[in-house]
Amino acid sequence: MAIKNVWFITDDLSAIGELAAGARKLGEHVTAVLFSEQDQAKEAIACGADQVYLFKKTEGSFIEGYSKEIAGLIRAEQAGLVMVYSSASGRLIAGRIASQLETSAISNVSDLYIEDDHVVAEHMVYGGLALRKEKALSDTVVLTVGLGVFEANAKDESREGKVTEITGEAENAGIKVIEIRPKQGETVNLKVAKKVVGVGRGFANEEDLKMAEDLASATGAELACSRPIAEGEKWMGKERYVGVSGAVLKPDVYVAIGISGQIQHMVGVNDAKTIVAINKDKNAPIFKQADIGLVGDLYTVLPKITEKLKA
């Protein structure tokens, strides 16, 4: 049985296709909540929405301030399921809406289906150690979902739907946007890389990463890292860290150098065809999850390996 009313909310337009497809799969009537311009409302309808609420978003507006109003609409129209795109803004909107609706926000759902008239959501717990299946019990189920969970349908430009523009300002008592700075740093798409070299805390200095770069360029691999390298050391951008809270990859080859192989990291590469590990500690957990391993000091072995590979 499908859910009568399914809503999806996204501040990122690139998520419209997938979320609309997911909502269509589970619901009879699909409502989209978007924050921007008319064009995207059309796109949401072509992707599967029957109805769009379009909230105003200007440079410097704090769209989370619409949370209460959105919750009011959800309540009035008795949505059974609300899927929110899990960007930082999306997460805040989801939590605020969930509190308004007196329920939890089930987070980062990796699979979603209906069983015995209830929504069942799957998501990782204990840092990726386990997958939890939860049957949602509330009248309105609120959850956050990222990309890659649903597959977008082909657009049907002939679909028709109702668009309601909400022109009121967001309710932002106590919050003022002073400035928006574009984030510097490159964008990488690790997901498309066939070969990935990942570095971890086994590297003692930032300069030493050069050795990993050399290996990556010798093998045509993209460079990635563990979370501490991106967040603690800040030697690489956040978009390069792999794992349960970072990027989840499916490369042909993943080379982990100076990475211990904690579950939170390995969840991101479990689907790699081949895992290669270099670590000086033969008891490191990575060696229980590798196809090819070398127990050795990366400072000694890595330059030699790169040289031999180039030869």
Partner: protein, 256 residues
Amino acid sequence: MRIIACFKAVPEEQDIVVEKDRQLNFDKAEWKIGTYDLNAIEAGKQLVEAEGGQLTGLAVGGTALDSSKLKKNILSRGLDDLYLVIDEKAENADTYQTAKLLEASIRKIGEFDLVLCGAGSSDLYAQQTGNQVGELLGVPVINSVNKITPQGDKVIVERVLEDSVQVLEVSLPAVLSVTSEINVPRIPGMKDILAAKKKPVTEFTVEDIGAAYVQPTSLVLSTQAPEQAERKLNILEGDSEETIDEFVKLFNEALK
């Protein structure tokens, strides 16, 4: 500034054992403070050091919280006092149940300027408790906060979004969830550990804080480790020329 830092007691993830049937075994896992909650405590500590005020620790949970080791550990991180809501009913709470209990606790503790939460709890990593608490308290709430600068009766915060950084002026009281990058939590020294002994600890039950029972919003059907891919486990050891040649040969085959 009156600051309340929220933390959760979680089982040490490195000591959770996956059984043959892919069930989790927690027998060897000691309870510790959530990794990313330490950033919230450190952020609070830095603000109090700079501005003066008081830093309170707050956790709700089951009887695991009633551990002298855990209490000593948390107090040695520079808290002025600690509030624990220990109740079997708070065990395995979902984010709404937790948020309701935290809301009631915070109202019971009294006046505050800032409630700080971590980026996510080490077990659920829902990244939602702070958002839900803020909405329940009816005060400004921001997540993904990477910098906090006090400015009179307001704070200026930097919030990291996917492709930009928002600079926000937030009036107090407010609830902020910080990132794990906002600081590097300090390791308690001997002095901190000794000082911890003198800090007051208040323990409440759910009845004490006057929180009504909230139904769980979901029923857990199963919690099971994902199936692991079979790996070849071809592990070589040493840095002799032959070993490296052998490794490079295997590596080269995989690269093809």
